[in-house]
Symmetry: C2
Amino acid sequence: MASPWKTASVPGLQLGLGCGFWICRSYRLLFRAGAMGPHVVPRQLVWLSRWQAVCARGASVQHRTRAGVSRIPSLLSPGGALGASPLVRRSSSSTPPGAPEVVLTQQRYPVTRLPFSAVSAEDLAAFERILPGGVVTDPEVLEASNVDWLRTVRGCSKVLLRPRTSQEVARILRYCHERNLAVNPQGGNTGMVGGSVPVFDEIILSTTLMNRIISFHSVSGTLVCQAGCVLEELSQYVEERGFVMPLDLGAKGSCHIGGNVATNAGGLRFLRYGSLHGTVLGLEVVLADGTVLDCLTSLRKDNTGYDLKQLFIGSEGTLGVITAVSIQCPPKPRAVNVAFLGCPGFAEVLQTFSSGKELLGEILSAYEFMDAECMWLVTHHLHLASPVQESPFYVLVETSGSRAGHDAEKLSDFLERALSSGLVTDGTVATDQTRLKALWALRERISEALSRDGYVYKGW
Amino acid sequence: MASPWKTASVPGLQLGLGCGFWICRSYRLLFRAGAMGPHVVPRQLVWLSRWQAVCARGASVQHRTRAGVSRIPSLLSPGGALGASPLVRRSSSSTPPGAPEVVLTQQRYPVTRLPFSAVSAEDLAAFERILPGGVVTDPEVLEASNVDWLRTVRGCSKVLLRPRTSQEVARILRYCHERNLAVNPQGGNTGMVGGSVPVFDEIILSTTLMNRIISFHSVSGTLVCQAGCVLEELSQYVEERGFVMPLDLGAKGSCHIGGNVATNAGGLRFLRYGSLHGTVLGLEVVLADGTVLDCLTSLRKDNTGYDLKQLFIGSEGTLGVITAVSIQCPPKPRAVNVAFLGCPGFAEVLQTFSSGKELLGEILSAYEFMDAECMWLVTHHLHLASPVQESPFYVLVETSGSRAGHDAEKLSDFLERALSSGLVTDGTVATDQTRLKALWALRERISEALSRDGYVYKGW
């Protein structure tokens, strides 16, 4: 089973705003807990050094920031120079040419393998009987599933299982339970805290082939699907029917909905549609002994009895394998705007947020901020062009509404106030899909840019 | 401890829309489970008869409904005659003059008292030491806490405890745990499924005096308060600061926020702000043995580790006593409209809902429907005046937005389409507080009207 990471934040940086934020200086320190014991990973000191180094570099931002207040060049019209920045599909981590091989987790960390059995030839034969053609032992194929996307941890699993149904998952887990074999459930393997790959030689149980949409209700917007459906494909499916997925994140091209739920992914639509604890209506879960727990209700206003499914949201595979998800999809907004703004300080980031909540109200669908360090990383490593002047902080504001004219009027009023009161010093607004994606890429590709600098430790 | 009720719905009536609905013909059948065993309560047959009787009366509605389609008299302006219908504060159930006494639960149902200890004089002295002045044994005062609001079940508790702090709750529960004394946590005693009062002589642990607001964050809208705060008082508190509570329900004048969370109350804002599983950020809970479980976080986007607090949302006091709540309050809408409409059939109710989601989009904050039977009950028993012609179904549509002009335009377009396509045959719209409340009363006071007809069995 995947080991959960527990995180402790750098004091003073838990904002509780409900909006997204990305700030280089807020790297969380990671402690590995659970199956591997509660000890602090020795690299903590290294991370602290890194944090201090980033702080030091952060100071130089002040020097690079231009003095004075400039006007937003062209509100509500395309403006600013953006580099080509299509969102990349996260590929799995087979060793890229020239990249150093990832050190085995068991060699890097002082971890001890628990007394699980090792996979035998008889076990492989049993798996082959349960999943004809679904048992992978080819080391090259396995490599991609043994290493995480950020290339920081690596297991040495010898077998990858690809079931297609909950019943197959149940049979596998029942067998492994009886044989005392360790199992690591895996979705799209896009996680950034090392929880999606084995620590040792756990069997990898992939949801890749469990990608069937079970039902969609066009009045209520309730989608029921298998856990291995890719988020972006689900998005396309429901958008064609006038709805959107209640969550969106940079890894959408590869991540699985089951993994999203298992890790309680927040994502970029959190501000508007809330947490998965509210939008997930039901789950089907297979427990470690093979018991199938059917909580796959699709009744939205259900308050009868204990809501057992909630326990699995965010449990990262430690309590069971999520095999199917029922989720509430909101109606697709007819108009979307994105404003990308420069802010002179953190106090102004907060005030701009309050002002946005007041003036944009129900159409405010995302509010993300990043510091100058992040902008430096995406512009230098990924060659994206910043659409605004250099600033200590940047804010991305998205609106989603049902009438373009109304939304533009609200956004214009908000930007006017933000600019005239000095909360914002520069900005650009996009309404067409290409520029929307380009502005979002500045936020979504920070993780990718960070990874070019070496190891990245991310706690949420 | 309060026993949970398990419910089974009449087939075909679970709509899964996420909107509110009230339909006389959808009475759920109640099964009492938990401490009292899984047997079906014999009165089920009586309820079935009642359900059939209501269905038979429902048929007569067709006769009372006028034929033909009439125009909405005055869209977006006050119209229709409404009787005086201020929302009543739910008083506790001391015997009203002339009302028959409620039969003891243990006499009406085949229930068996579990082998808990009985409260002794020594116990009372111990409670008095823990809660000086907070121990109530006066039978007249106890009567109100022994009977539920609908006057259908009645316990015979001899002692009511009123702690002020979590520490006091912990000391009480620790003592009761050691002494094997049964405890019934109680909030505002406004529940309608009999879960808030003792079955036998359980000690009643009331949250009435735990009514302190602990903190409110004016940027994030996060409210932290004790469990005994009355919902309406919290609403007033946050509204003065530019926010609203994410839930609202007819019992708001008396119900406690702790009870709302313990019963996972849905309420009238569910459609807009979602379930308490999404809006409750943290809980403090005292377990049966006196252990205080501190999950009172106020970080909105928290996905670290197991979300233990979720288990207590909807657990109805069976897993512990909720003593404090951290909850996310959305910004207060600047404009609110309510339309009350007559619909010719259930298919039209669904289509009107879909049309509303499409045209009202993000400002649609409530969609409730009731059948003609419910209207008959509130007009005859409570003397409220129906603002529209008699119809087989009625729909209440509420919009909440940040700009009155925009909202009125959207609502007007929606009503025009609903009327011209025959989905709606009559309607009225309100924008001022008095008429808003009067229209809402038609929906909110159905429970009260039903209770005038005799016993009411309600499953959600």
